[in-house]
């Protein structure tokens, strides 16, 4: 190969340029697509959030002669309850949304861990069968879970009231149970969440989402339990530690690094659990089980207040960002804890 120095340096220069632009060539398809269907819509969303965009503006959109720029009025209306929407107070929905996610995680994680520990008991009969059964809720789509539980909680024909009827029959009562699970507005425990009514629908949804949620936590906890060395327990029992002492001093601390990220994942999932909530209660009764994403959807799908819906989505975005930063920080902080 006879090449002059000039040619070498020239081709080396070309190669360097090629190398410098190559990453962008690989990124090009994704960024072209995202520009059209993500970044542009995000900007468009911010623009129309400052307008009174309604159905009449659909045809000409931003060129519509009826479209008015109204500044931050949409945002102010959302926060102060000035939207032409019944039963909507932003901070009540936000509080409920956080409460909903927190209480879900608070029951799913301990239940998941306890069941994993139970399944991990040495010498328990039928472990394999139980494992195969317990994993079932994970594989069923939440929209199906939501609709099925909605029917289960039906006032007249639902399985839950029929089950309770059968139970009270055992105690000699002949009356059928008719609890209005999804329609009763009066909260059964009024002081539980001072900022809004926790209707029976909330408890019904907690039951249904409990069914859906703990098996995932059991999966994660079972994996983590397997990595705890058995000699730790043997040493502890030689030292005379009781079962509950072993649980609190060995199992719980060693499960923590696996369970905290799982709990944070569960929190984020519950916080934005659109399909399940929409299919089971639709946010009702009287918006008492509405979460931010279902309300955002209602604004655009049914109320057709596009400007307000855009403003609401911008707010939802920032709430989601805060949720991410907080959960991420908790995860990181606990990682540092386990390394220390």
């Amino acid at each position: 190969m006879a090449t002059t120095t000039l040619e070498i340096s020239k081709s080396a220069g070309m190669a360097r340029i090629k190398k410098a632009i190559l990453p962008y060539v690989y990124l090009l398809p994704a960024f072209v697509v995202m520009s059209v269907i993500t970044f542009y819509p995000l900007i468009y969303q911010v623009i129309i959030s400052f307008t009174d965009f309604q159905t009449k503006d659909l045809l000409k959109q931003l060129a519509s002669p009826n479209l008015n720029y109204i500044g931050v009025k949409n945002y102010v209306d959302i926060v102060t309850g000035g939207l032409p929407v019944q039963n909507f107070e932003f901070f009540r929905v936000l509080t409920y949304n956080i409460w909903w996610a927190v209480t879900n995680v608070l029951v799913h994680v301990p239940a998941g861990v306890l069941i994993a520990v139970l399944l991990n008991t040495q010498g328990l009969w039928g472990k394999k069968i139980y494992r195969a059964l317990y994993v079932l809720p994970v594989v069923i789509p939440p929209i199906v879970v939501g609709t099925v539980w909605k029917n289960i909680f039906d006032e007249q024909y639902g399985a839950m009231n029929q089950f309770l009827t059968a139970v009270v029959h055992l105690f000699g009562t002949a009356d059928p149970v008719r609890i209005r699970w999804l329609t009763e507005y009066t909260p059964p425990i009024p002081w539980l969440l001072p900022n809004g009514p926790l209707t029976l629908a909330y408890y019904a949804m907690m039951i249904a989402n409990f069914w859906l949620g703990w098996p995932f936590m059991t999966l994660v906890a079972t994996g983590a339990l397997q990595s705890i060395p058995k000699d730790l327990y043997e040493a502890a029992s030689i030292d005379g530690a009781s079962g509950s002492q072993q649980f609190w001093n060995i199992t719980v601390p060693l499960l923590r690094p696996a369970m905290i990220p799982a709990a944070m994942y569960g929190f984020t999932m519950s916080f934005n659990l659109f399909n399940f909530v929409f299919f089971m209660s639709g946010g009702g009764p009287a918006r008492s089980t509405e979460i931010l994403v279902t309300f955002a959807y209602d604004l655009v799908r049914n109320l057709r207040l596009y400007g307000a819906a855009a403003a609401f989505s911008v707010i939802v975005f920032f709430v989601a960002l805060i949720v991410f930063l907080v959960t991420n920080r908790i995860t990181r902080a606990t990682e540092a804890y386990t390394e220390a």
Partner: protein
């Protein structure tokens, strides 16, 4: 200890189902009373899990079109009437079951494939190249993931709605937003918003960042030695991508596709917002139509059969791919 200690990133489902229970220490058997007590507990939990499943299966096998008057958790009869009726005529809408199935499949498969195709090279770039804008661009891809999918539905609805084809009469066709009929609006013959294509494009907005992130997480775990060896042999970056990385990534491409499929199969919000013509409806939309305010005319056995039909593909994929799916999910979420 290091040789066998399972790292916390290995997936739980597979170990959960196939954990070795034979190597238990002899002489540490449970006392009988404890065994029985724990059996009561585990059976109770099994009953809790099975309650809604048995309820819906029993109902779907019932030929009774009346609503259930008492709780039944075991099928008294095995009748396929409800399934037959659902396959025959799912709802009062003029749409056949096959059309619903086709629409659901078109959306789930189409969105999954396009997202994958567009995502894979970007994932490779993020995983292997060092370049100046890397951090910025990764944040740009990552930020939409934070946004609940509903959060983009308003602008996507409005943008899709502005792509229309109208027949202005006299054989003139106008494509908005680039053209408009000279007089009036003409007759709108196609509205991107009101079509499966438009819904699919909108769904890609959510699917793409997920696919990039999921694939990048996997590519990061592929050892670089192979690529370095190829580079020494004179392969350039393109050859490495096409001939080494892509073949290695095929299993994860499949997992990402199926993970996406599970999500898109249940996608409800965007189709329900965009589509107005029954011929475009999906199975998820039909399931929703069978409950709530529209459900008064639909017997519950038919609803139960539909619920099982909608759940089946997802359940099958999960069970077939349980190992890869859980590790894929946790990789995405923990890295996030």
């Amino acid at each position: 200890m290091t040789a066998q200690s399972p790292s916390k990133s290995t997936n739980p489902i597979i170990r959960f189902l196939s954990m070795n229970t034979s190597g238990e220490v002899a002489g540490r058997d449970l006392p009988l009373w404890k065994q029985l007590l724990l059996q009561v507990l585990t059976l109770f939990i099994a009953a809790e899990v099975l309650f809604p499943i048995m309820y819906i299966i029993t109902m779907s096998f019932s030929s009774k079109t009346t609503r259930p008057s008492a709780l039944e958790l075991f099928p008294k009869e095995i009748s396929f009437v409800a399934y037959q009726q659902v396959l025959d005529r799912p709802t009062a809408n003029p749409v056949t079951f096959l059309e619903l199935l086709r629409n659901s499949f078109l959306l789930s498969v189409g969105v999954g494939l396009v997202a994958l195709l567009v995502a894979v090279s970007a994932a490779y770039a993020f995983s292997r190249f060092k370049f100046r804008m890397r951090q910025v661009m990764m944040v740009l891809v990552f930020v939409p993931l934070l946004m609940p999918a509903i959060g983009l539905s308003t602008p996507l609805y409005l943008l899709m709605n502005s792509f229309r084809i109208a027949d202005c009469g006299n054989g003139v066709t106008a494509i908005s937003p680039f053209m408009a009929c000279a007089q009036g609006l003409g007759k709108v013959t196609f509205n991107l918003r009101d079509s499966l294509l438009g819904v699919g494009v909108a769904m890609i907005a959510g699917a793409l960042p997920f696919a990039v992130w999921n694939l990048k997480g996997y590519l990061d775990t592929i050892p670089k030695e192979l690529e370095e060896a190829a580079m020494i042999d004179g392969a350039d970056a393109n050859q490495i991508f096409w001939q080494i990385v892509l073949p290695l990534a095929v299993p994860q491409l499949a997992v990402t596709f199926f993970l996406g499929f599970i999500g898109h199969w249940q996608e409800f919000a965007l189709p329900w917002l965009f589509l107005t013509q029954p011929k475009d409806y999906t199975l998820a939309m039909t399931l929703y139509n069978m409950t709530g305010q529209y459900a008064s005319s639909i017997p519950w056995n038919r609803f139960a059969a539909m619920a099982i039909i909608v759940a089946l593909p997802v359940a099958i994929i999960y069970i077939a791919l349980q190992k890869q799916i859980v590790s894929g999910l946790t990789a995405g979420s923990v890295k996030g």
